[in-house]
């Protein structure tokens, strides 16, 4: 059964008198527990598709249904509430809040949930241990390496136990060994916790960790390849 269903998914932007269409009528089905890698050249619409799936952008046309919820029909506030429950976002540049410690960064999404301080603490500990960075809980982002920052960002993404993890070039700013570690971590989240992962990448090596790779060009899906 499809977990994410995109039909004729289109996103247009106006730039002056010109209309730019980074995503043009995409039909896509993603089943629960998939680890989908999206590849394609710059401007092909990968990040636009990722943002729509993450609920941080809304389609101009078409429908996007995730686990029975049509995101295109949700208001700004309802979309925010939906994101807090269902999506964990991993950014290329980590985007940790610089004045907060690793622990406090992971706590940020949990503050929106009805959890006691103790429950939040337990969840943060679990998330930090899962990404192997619990010993750096009291460190600020500036005191961490790129790989460690990305681990904290992943911990923040999984702290609320979301169904979907979206990752926008999660290894794009990392060295080879850190990139390998982060990809292994995402693969573990997919295989052991059953998280559905949608990842944008430029690096063909990272697609080896995915269960499925799709290519986009000029806003359209051009190729679909299943990986064993």
């Amino acid at each position: 059964m499809n977990f994410i269903t995109c039909r004729d998914l289109t996103r247009e932007y106006k730039k002056g008198d010109t209309i730019i269409k980074p995503l043009d009528g995409v039909d896509l089905d993603i089943t629960s527990g998939d680890f989908l890698a999206l590849m394609g050249p710059s401007g092909s619409g990968k990040t636009t598709l990722l943002n729509l799936v993450a609920g941080i952008d809304s389609p101009t046309n078409g429908s996007l249904v995730i686990d029975g919820t049509d995101l295109s029909k949700l208001s700004r506030n309802k979309l925010a509430a939906w994101r807090s429950k269902h999506v964990g976002y991993v950014f290329q540049l980590y985007n940790l809040v610089p004045v907060l410690t690793a622990y406090e960064n992971v706590e940020l999404p949990l503050l929106l949930h009805d959890l006691s301080k103790k429950q939040r603490h337990e969840r943060i500990q679990i998330a930090l241990e899962r990404v192997g960075i619990s010993d750096r809980a009291e460190h600020f982002p500036r005191q961490l390496s790129g790989g460690q920052e990305q681990r904290v960002a992943i911990a923040r993404a999984i702290a609320t136990d979301p169904d979907i993890i979206v990752a926008d070039e999660p290894t794009g700013d990392l060295d080879k060994s850190s990139a390998h570690a982060v990809m292994q971590l995402l693969q573990t989240l997919n295989s052991e916790l059953g998280k559905t992962i949608v990842m944008v990448t430029h690096d063909p090596k990272t697609t080896e960790y995915a269960t499925r790779t799709l290519h986009l060009e000029k806003g359209k899906l051009v190729e679909a390849e299943a990986v064993a």
Binding site: I56, N77, S84, V99, L108, L112
Partner: protein
Amino acid sequence: MKIIRCFPYVTKQITRHRVRSLLTVFGIAIAMFLFTSVQAMNDGVLEATTATASDTTLVVYREDRYCPATSQLPQDYQRRIEGIDGVSSVTPMMVVVSNCRTSLDVVTFRGVPKESFLSGAGKGIEVISGSAEDWLSRTDAALLGETLANRRGLKPGMRFDAAGITATVAGIVRSDNPQDQNVAYTALEFVQLAGRDRLGIVTQFNVKVTDSALLDPVADEIDEMFRTAQEPTATFGEKAFIGRLADDIIELVGFARWLGLGCLAAVLALVANSIVLGVQSRIAEHAVLQTLGYKSWVIAVLIIAEGVLLCAIGGLLGAVVALSVARSGNYALSVEGTSIPIVADYGLLLMGLVVCVVIGVIAGLVPAWQASRRSIVECFRAV
């Protein structure tokens, strides 16, 4: 109330951007110190010059005279004034000041008939240290207003010199009337004889009437009575009299109010600038919060809360310092024997805090609205 749980995020933004926060708070504190000080002077002017329904005192002065050195009235006017219907008591006063000009430290001697003063014109006066008996029994004894005593560090038993008069402190007094707080009450004859022989001459009469509604008719009757006398009189309600003598101070304080409003504008600009810069430097951060599920209005409230907190800290600091300076200095603006106290009470502190909170909200509104309406994707593209 999930948003309450998010407030530590606000305090961390302030405490961990230490330099920015300290500079902003320091600027707010300076501006609020000035605003609170101006407001304290303004409150003093209002307290000293605003007539109330309970006022029953008239001041009889020499017509066309504006200072105690030139207002000279025969003391025997007292008997004739006492004969007017509605007059309950008449207190002749000789006023001698250490400095005729406007100053923060003027000693004003008021010579009064001791035997009748405390039960008449000085009825509302409370002796808080020393004793009224000492004052009554000694010729050179003075009862000092609390403000004057504190400012000069005088205590019962001490002797002091001012305006060419040497007196002994018999007691310290407290009164609701600001004029009593900054004077030295002595025997009328003692002041009349001090330096030069002016027996039988007084500066003014303080006339109590039985009902405040009688103030104007009695004032008219007194002035009519002495219209053709060698020393004609001009009679005013006590607050109006103070307003007349202290009009220079009132004008200056009125102008200073504009400076106070300027201080508030400076606080607004400072906080708004700080918030705008903070929001601009945190565009990606706010986009991340929204990505995590923070609703637009929550982002707006967090931004406004940051402005309010900065304003409250700075405002409280400035107001507390202003209050401490005003209280420890016991300042009063004096001119021509009248006194405009600088009124620094906790109401002023509260007002300063409330004003700051309102400014914090106003300063944060526009940047908060802008930050909360931004598209998440646009924010990530912008950085």
